[in-house]
Amino acid sequence: MTPILEYKNLKKYFTVGHRGLLRREPITVKAVDGVSFVINKGEVFGLVGESGSGKSTVAYTTIGMYRPTSGAIEFQGESLFTKEGKRPRHIKKEIQIVFQDPGSSLNPRRSVKEILELPLSIHQPAKKHIGRVAELLEMVELPVDYMYKYPHALSGGEKQIVAIARALATEPSFIILDEPTSALDVSIQGKIINLLLRLRQEFHLSYLFITHDLSLMRNVASRVAIMYLGKICEVAEASEFFRNPKHPYTQMLLSSIPVVSEEEEKLKPKRVQSRGEIPSPVNIPSGCSFHLRCPYKMDICPRVDPEMVDTGEGHYVRCHLYPVQENSRPVAV
């Protein structure tokens, strides 16, 4: 497996204000605080977390809306430590994003044709684009006459499909999906997911799939990572992740998935009562940031931040319940 995208100790802090009158101390939000993982070619990497966990910041830093505070992002060996304005064109072509809110991601004053022509005119100038626009619409299974429709005439699902077509227009190799289905009706979610999975096979795409919906990940992702307050708690292959969750936070999330039948209930890990809410990222708890909500809290937890540990078979956990072995070093996932 060859890596396509590597995050090495990525940090993104935002200054949200200042405190103090004379000595002005900046108040920072540690949106992403030391995240390392690798996305392999052809993979659907699921990044899961509650609101405010920093998962969208990872996406926006990757696409270049923010410049990282420190750390590295490498796309096929090329550094992405820049904002979009300074990125070379071939990188912009290779990495695309589908945003969460299809209502806001399409310009209400531009027709579907104009929306799809924009990436084409930038990356393949001096060409007739109308044929390619029709091709894109066929690719995402929309009727060709949608070309002259404006976004207000489309349903939420159709808008998201157009946004996907726009992401495909530059023939990218990597697409970030930032909660692509969370704003849609459940009945349409399935169609969009199927479409995305088909396109991945057809065009050999890799996805970074960001969501707060864990049950969706079970069917979609090949590997899953859980984020909590800007840090990754656990990374594992999807099947392993759902069969044998190790981090108490993961267990808590999995046991709070609502289920319909008893068989499904049996599939879930042992019940961990969900308590508390995610603290404000301005005021991150000391030590392990999860200790305020953790049912297995130990004396060490509020003092020392645990390190990422390899527990075998590509299953990584960052928790004091799984102490660092003598012979193992801290790992980059």
Partner: protein
């Protein structure tokens, strides 16, 4: 799979796919006609805005064809007929005659010419720079570009337009051109402020972010992505401002700094006629009504446009 998906999608869109047989151009024409038709339907459902449009169109028509539609076109200039001076409204002179015997109806219609000219010229001078500065400052909100542009804007906003127009017109030669320049100088900041507010919101929309990450140029983002979304508020403000500018032009004429005699200016006619109140009331009242009607027309039209475009957003 393809078939199923296509059916599902076109069901949602409420229209079956029929595109392949007709040409793309025909398709484009058809959907454009559909959009215009829908907009007109919405607009026409509000009787007040239709009335506004009718008033504006009538006044524009009268102003353009004034020499042909007025009963006594030669009364628009230096003409005297003391035998028929100060006649009250009658069948020959519908609005009566003024102190030197000129037909007031004729002069009101000719007065529309300069009133409209004032509005159009001022807006043409004011809107492009105001919109451009607002776009740039709003897009670069929080940077030094924003600070410079918006502080200058604030300085201009601090001076009331009529006062500055008075100052400029009294220094330079008092004529219509100079007062239009003076009003324009004071009017652009309102457009800068309007567009600044809109742009600083729009730049955070995902479609702008998306264009940025795809690699679109700043010019494309400002003029193709953001500006089209500001057009409706700008348009509405323009039609409302048209009335205001005409009013200010009339005020300037009233104090003698606008349209110069013997050309008929609505404000001048009101000013000169005021001293014949109440006995020869028709001398100031009909030009004043002319101002009321033209301002009312543009305001109704502006309100109608605003409602129409607001409904379109929803």
């Amino acid at each position: 799979m393809t078939k199923v998906m296509g059916d599902w999608v076109s069901e949602l869109g409420g229209r079956a796919e029929s595109a392949t047989s007709i040409s793309w151009r025909e398709l484009q024409r058809r959907s454009r006609r559909e959009n215009i038709g829908r907009a007109w339907y919405k607009f026409s459902r509000n009787p007040l805005s239709v009335a506004g449009l009718a008033i504006v169109l009538t006044i524009v028509f009268l102003a353009i064809f004034a020499p042909y539609v007025t009963p006594y076109p030669h009364h628009a200039g230096p003409f005297t007929d003391f035998e028929n001076a100060k006649l009250p409204p009658n069948l020959k002179y519908l609005f009566g005659t003024d102190t030197i015997g000129r037909d007031i109806l004729t002069r009101v219609i000719f007065g529309f010419q300069d009133a409209l000219l004032m509005g159009i010229v001022v807006l043409a001078l004011v809107v492009p720079p105001g919109v451009l500065l607002g776009l740039v400052a709003g897009y670069y909100q929080g940077t030094w570009i924003d600070t410079i542009i918006m502080r200058i804007t604030d300085i201009f906003l601090a001076v009331p337009p009529l006062i500055l127009a008075l100052a400029i017109a009294s220094v330079l030669k008092p004529n219509l051109m100079n007062s239009m320049m003076a009003v324009s100088l004071m009017w652009w900041p309102w457009y800068a402020r309007l567009v600044y507010g809109l742009t600083s919101q729009l730049r955070n929309e995902y479609f702008v972010k998306s264009a940025e990450t795809i690699g679109a140029s700043k010019a494309h983002i400002l003029f193709r992505e953001i500006l089209p979304n500001c057009v409706s508020p700008i348009f509405t403000k323009m039609s409302l401002d048209m009335g205001w500018v005409i009013l200010i032009g009339s005020s300037l004429s009233f104090v003698g700094l606008g349209v110069q005699p013997p050309k008929p200016g609505l404000g001048t006619m009101v000013a000169d006629g005021a001293r014949y109140l109440p006995d020869q009331w028709w001398i100031p009242v009909f030009p004043a009504l002319g101002i009321v009607v033209i301002v009312l027309g543009f305001n109704l039209l502006g309100d109608g446009l605003r409602d129409l475009l607001a409904a379109e957003e929803a």
